[in-house]
Amino acid sequence: MDDTFHGDLIYLFAFALAGLGFALGPFAVVYLLAPRQTRQTANKSLQAIECGMDPIGDAWIRYSAVYYLYALVFVAFAVDVLYLIPVALVYNDPRFAIQDFIEMALFVGILSLVIVYAWKKGIFEWKRNPTSPNS
C-alpha cells in the first residue's frame, strides 16, 4: 500500500507542477523575450479600442439584461458538453449500450430545456426593456 501510495503522490505532484508550469511559463517567456514597451506618439497604448477614437462615456452602466441571459444559455451548453466528455469514457460498456444512450439523451434533454425557456422569454429576439428610451 505504501509504495503505490507514494507513487501516486509523486505522480499527482508532478502533474500539478506541469499544470503550474503551463500556466506561468508563458508569462516568464514573454517577459524575457518580448519587447519591453511599445513606441507611442500619443500614449494611448492602454486605451480601449474604439476605432481610433476616445471611448465616450463609461462602460459600467445598466444595459439590457438580455446580454446576461444570452451568456447564460452559452454557459448552460458549455457545462453540458463538459459533462459529456467524461461520460463517453465511462459509459463505453457494450452490454448497456441502449441504457447508456437513454441516460445521456435524458441528460441532454433536461439541459436543452434552457433553449425552450430562453425562446419563450424572447432572449433570442433581443426583446427590449419596455421602459427603455424609445422602444
Binding site: L32, L33, P35, R36, T38, T41, A42, S45, I49
Partner: protein, 172 residues
Amino acid sequence: MEAQPDLSQLVKDCSPIVRFGLLDDWLALARANSLWPLTFGLACCAIEMMAAGASRFDLARFGAEVFRPSPRQADVMIVAGTINKKMAGAVKTLYDQMPEPKWVIAMGNCAISGGPFVFPGQYAVVEGVDKLFPVDVFIPGCPPRPEALIEGILKLEEKLTGKRRWPIVKPE
C-alpha cells in the same frame, strides 16, 4: 501644422531583455512570413490594397492576407490614403495601440508626402505620415499597383530578415 512630435522618445530601444542570436533569426523569419496588416484603407489606395488581397494578386502567397481590423492583432499598419488633420489623432491612437514589434508601410503619394493634395495654402492634409510616426517602407504611386504593394511587403520582409528570399523582377 502642429508642433513636430519629438520622435526622439519614439526610437528608444524596445528590444527584449534576453536575446539569442539564432532564435532572433527564426523569430524574424516567422514574423516576416506572417505580417498581419491592419485594415486601414483611407481612400483610393485602399481599393488597390483590396485588389492586392483578392484573387488575382493574392497577398496570401506572402502570408499577409489576414487583414486585422483591431490594432491589437496587427503587425504592420499599411497607411493607404490621405491623412488629414482631423484624422491625425485617430491615426496616432491606432499606432499606439498596436503592440510591438510593429511596422508602418506608407502606401501611395498621399501617405508619403500628401500627394496631389499639397498646394500653397492647403489647410487640411498632413503632408506625409512620417510626420506622425516612423515609417519603414514607402510605396510611391497614385494609387500604386497591387504589384507595388507586394514589392513593398517584400521590402519590409527584407528589412526584417536581412536577406531577400524572393526574386527581384527587373522591368525589362
